[in-house]
């Protein structure tokens, strides 16, 4: 297990080195893109659409950053096994290491962008951090990481068999942004449509960030954190079933 973790980090390091070798602009763009999106959305929703939420930029940040991590990871890494065909067929390497490498790369980008915006908000005086908030953010980030890893593993695995999964994922992720309470609060949704949030598997992962970082709500955080754990377990169960039943066919199709 430790060997696999070591390999994930070594490969992630060289993967990033390969990606940003030619130009630093590549890295700056990866970091700048969520920050620019954040600034534009904060402006549009607060100043133009006049969404009435206290400390709106901070509220938006707590939902948008985990969403960026989820969407960027799912959109850009679903084809990772097909791209790593040579490695998978040439050396003894578990596919989870390849998926882990991609997730670590995306996670690094998420952390950098998150800290840049947090620092900016702190300097602007609109950041209120308590010890409790910081305490809750650690398991929130951990479960988000587990969710993204499990989802990437599952989707990349099935992408080997059905190559249009990549496009379907992009389509679904783009749509889901609007039905997930990221730039608006759950309170804005009328009773009639609350079920959309209940069946949305992304929603609890966003909510735990809003409940811990934006406005501390331990009860809601616990409920959503438990839901998040349940979702991760379900996805991991699907991963285990898929690998158990289809691994031989995986190697011929990759």
């Amino acid at each position: 297990m430790m060997q696999k973790f070591r390999l994930i980090f070594v490969l992630a390091y060289y993967h990033m080195r390969a990606r940003y070798r030619k130009t630093w602009a590549g890295f700056i763009w990866v970091i700048a893109s969520p920050i620019i999106t954040f600034i534009v959305q904060a402006f549009i929703f607060k100043a133009i659409l006049k969404i009435n939420i206290e400390q709106y930029p901070f509220f938006l940040l707590t939902g948008l950053m985990p969403w960026f991590f989820i969407s960027q990871s799912l959109n850009s890494t679903t084809s990772c096994f097909v791209h790593a065909r040579e490695m998978l067929l040439g050396v003894k390497l578990h596919p989870a290491v390849i998926a882990g490498t991609q997730v670590v790369d995306q996670f690094f980008n998420f952390l950098v962008a998150f800290f840049i915006i947090l620092t900016a908000l702190f300097l602007a005086g609109s950041l209120d951090l308590s010890a409790m908030k910081i305490l809750l953010i650690i398991p929130s980030v951990a479960i988000l990481l587990a969710f993204v890893f499990a989802s990437v593993l599952l989707l990349s695995f099935w992408h080997v068999f059905y190559r249009d999964i990549q496009f379907i994922v992009q389509f679904v992720v783009n749509l889901t942004f609007f039905i997930t309470p990221i730039f608006y609060s759950r309170d804005f949704i009328s009773e009639k449509y609350r079920w959309i949030v209940v069946v949305n598997p992304f929603a609890p992962f966003i909510k735990i960030f809003q409940d811990s970082l934006y406005s501390l709500n331990l009860r809601s955080w616990l409920i959503n954190f438990s839901e998040s754990i349940f979702i991760v377990i379900m996805i991991m169960a699907l991963v285990v079933i898929s690998f158990k039943n289809k691994l031989r066919d995986f190697y011929i199709n990759v």
Binding site: Q3, R6, L7, V10, L11, Y14, H15, R17, A18, R19, R21, K22, E86, M87, L88, L89, G90, V91, K92, L93, F161, Y162, R163, D164, I165, I168, L247, R248, D249, Y251, I252, N253
Partner: protein, 252 residues
């Protein structure tokens, strides 16, 4: 020949689902569901059998040449023997298995030959310490004779240059079991000659070798036992001379 068991293959079969070749898109399945929903409920017997219930043992000192026509399942079998794909029907008594399949391997085309070699060393020798890996890397780079090209991006390398680097790395340390799948060819005649000496020593130092080649001369040069695969089965498992005679007679 020592009797120490290195590997046991027992009642091993390989088959592949064919349905994924027919439709590789979710959208296809969706359209089929709309046009003929009942067909999707039928459970199709849809597996292509490649190897059917084969068994053999590999002992220390064996240098086995696997012969058979294209598509008979030699490379598939070797991937299982190398542990790249897990199977309950293959029991490993050896810890350290080394395999060579595609010699044209490059992990990150934008990175230099040295950086790719570093990554490959991590992948090929996960049990070694950092200092051991460093020694392996330096020795392999020197052997590959890529000289100043080692610090150029690997995407400018020819196939032969990639093969030089990979083959030098993968044969840097002896293994309990070595799997070689069509490893000769691709490199120039001078490097091939130099590499043949290295691979001979590598094979001699290692526990057992399973080798796939269509070149009977190569099999004759290195192997002491032959397995012939034909029509999903092992049709011959025995001595080198009898095996080659049998294989040549099958081709006629």
């Amino acid at each position: 020949m020592s009797n120490k068991l290195v590997l046991e293959v027992q009642n091993f079969s390989v088959s592949y689902a064919q349905n994924h070749y027919r439709s590789r898109e979710v959208r296809d399945i969706f359209v089929r569901f709309l046009t003929a929903p009942l067909n999707l409920l039928k459970k199709e017997k849809d597996r292509l059998l490649v190897l059917d219930d084969i068994s053999f043992k590999v002992h220390q000192g064996d240098v086995i040449g696997i012969l058979g026509v294209n598509g008979v399942g030699k490379t598939s079998l070797c991937r299982y023997l190398a542990g790249i794909i897990n199977s309950d029907e293959i029991k490993f008594a050896a810890n350290n298995v080394c395999s060579i399949f595609d010699t044209n391997i490059s992990i990150y085309p934008d990175l230099t030959g040295r950086e790719n070699a570093l990554v490959l060393t991590e992948l090929l020798y996960p049990n070694c310490s950092d200092s051991e890996r460093k020694l392996i890397l330096e020795e392999a780079i020197a052997f590959s004779e890529l000289n100043e090209f080692i610090d150029s991006p690997i995407n400018i390398y020819s196939k032969g240059m990639k093969a030089r680097l990979y083959l030098s790395l993968v044969t840097a340390q002896k293994a309990d079991l070595v799997i070689l799948d069509e490893i000769f060819g691709g490199t120039d005649v001078f490097f091939t000659e130099k590499f043949k000496k290295r691979i001979k020593k590598f094979m001699d130092d290692s526990g057992a070798v399973v080798m796939v080649s269509h070149n009977v001369e190569e099999i004759n040069q290195y192997c002491n036992r032959i397995i012939i695969l034909s029509e999903k089965k092992i049709v011959f498992d025995g001595s080198l001379s009898d095996g080659i005679k049998k294989y040549l007679s099958m081709r006629q």
